[in-house]
Symmetry: C2
Subunit: 338 residues, 2 copies
Amino acid sequence: MRGAVIHAPGDVRYEERADPTIVEPTDAVIRTVAACVCGSDLWRYRGISSVPKPTPIGHEYVGVVEEVGSSVTSVRPGQFVVGGFLTSDNTCAVCRKGALANCLHRTGYDGCQAELIRVQNADGTLIATPETPADDLVPGILSLSDVMCTGWHAAVSADVRPGSTVVVVGDGAVGLSGVLAASQLGAERIIAMSRHASRQAIATDFGATHIVAERGDEGIAHVLDLTDGIGADSVLECVGTTESVTQALRAARPGGQVGWVGVPHDPEFPQQHMFWANVGLRGGPAPVRAYLPDLLERVWSRTIDPGRVFDLTLPLAEVADAYAAMDERRAIKVLLQP
Amino acid sequence: MRGAVIHAPGDVRYEERADPTIVEPTDAVIRTVAACVCGSDLWRYRGISSVPKPTPIGHEYVGVVEEVGSSVTSVRPGQFVVGGFLTSDNTCAVCRKGALANCLHRTGYDGCQAELIRVQNADGTLIATPETPADDLVPGILSLSDVMCTGWHAAVSADVRPGSTVVVVGDGAVGLSGVLAASQLGAERIIAMSRHASRQAIATDFGATHIVAERGDEGIAHVLDLTDGIGADSVLECVGTTESVTQALRAARPGGQVGWVGVPHDPEFPQQHMFWANVGLRGGPAPVRAYLPDLLERVWSRTIDPGRVFDLTLPLAEVADAYAAMDERRAIKVLLQP
């Protein structure tokens, strides 16, 4: 088969690789229907994370089951499936507490931007759709593999409830998904912080009631203007920089809650402010499998269309162009088709 | 009247001061029945916080109302009252959200280790007992002025629920109150981290099911032994040092929650761990007035006896000895009587 391999910063190649096989009885091998590039993949592409050797890349996918190991019972060959960016057994002590991204037996993938993918812990990771989805549902289902569940995790971690006032920091695919999540969870006011017209438009379609284009002190001032001068009940932090985490903590009202899902680069943030303002912070990698049944139902019933975050579709063979498009911010998120 | 004034680190004097008076129509003046020394008062006593000039000190009290301002309606002269370590109006936009410690009009006190105390925002701060309490109830009610509500806030912030497994870091008056709070909130296992026999005994009486005497890596290893190898659902951080906050974050299971109420000295803690382990952190100064009705009822009905944290009673005139006793850890917490 062929798949994407990152050789060095800026150097992603589509090349011949060995076909994955069933190694453990809990494995499945799926044939990819669609994959995509994650903002976190760009870290290596941009040289922020190191690339010590050529490495298969990608961790978001949907596909059709080719083969399953002898102990797999929840999916079978021929089914259309989606799984999260980490595998989970959904049975260990941590999974039973609901923190499936921290499964004691979790694994990553040997590159999902590929024609075939080995999925470990198949029973605890994959979920099959009721039938083969219509083509227009595929992007939405693919988004559940990471960004939509991550945005949902931000909203859950930020304690969004019916009637909440919410700020979303970050207008990438995760931030936009966070807007959609907050809306689905019943937020009354959703303030999307975004400076890009095309992203503002999606945010508004996803349920944002206000757009704040300013950043830093001006952005905070604008948020306070919109929130009785006190800040938001819930803030979704979907970037991961010192600036964005600080902005999120400052945008929360006293006693408010920040859900952070932006992978932290260099976490330096105002802990004294957190304490004295009674602002909570929780989040991390999303427990995708825990959210999948509910969110798949919302996508399948066409209640939500999170696939709108994909604004460019390319053949998988052009994966290098996909990275370039996202790196240069020409695309919010690129869908890849084998 | 007379009251405590801190002149410099290690130098607390009981001296003549001007009687407080009604300044605003929302004020009350109360005659102190009991006051006490807070762990945070020791910061200045120990020179960790500066003492730029002689300053009246103390912020925990119960007493009898002497006089109220013209707009005060909820308490009247002669009533026995308790209030929190900060005043709150209980009507502003922040108070309406429940974050009363962050009231937009909050104030501190001009020294509560004194015979008379001016209480600003009296209606939003004070709560009267049903009648004058029996002497043996006074310590418990006094504890609601700070430590018991602070321990309760730790447990609420740590999301303690029926059936939770809880770790409490810190065996001072707040930590012990946190044990009691966790027990009242239905925790199934409560692991108190303590190396002092007398404090272990109170912790056990307050509901601790396990004692861990080790600290650092050994302490974490012992906690893991007691929690299926994964850590606790909820951790109450009741100290405020880098070591204790780090220990608390590491004692939480993936997806767990830390409630922090130890005033942070030098907050440097493992933020990457917080993110990757999905461990939340929230807390800060307790919204005392929000918790008072419930907790006063529990004390009044003798359901709980949080006053047990007072293990030394001194005349207010001997306030300097009270500071020394707490500084030297000869007492957990000292009750002062005018």
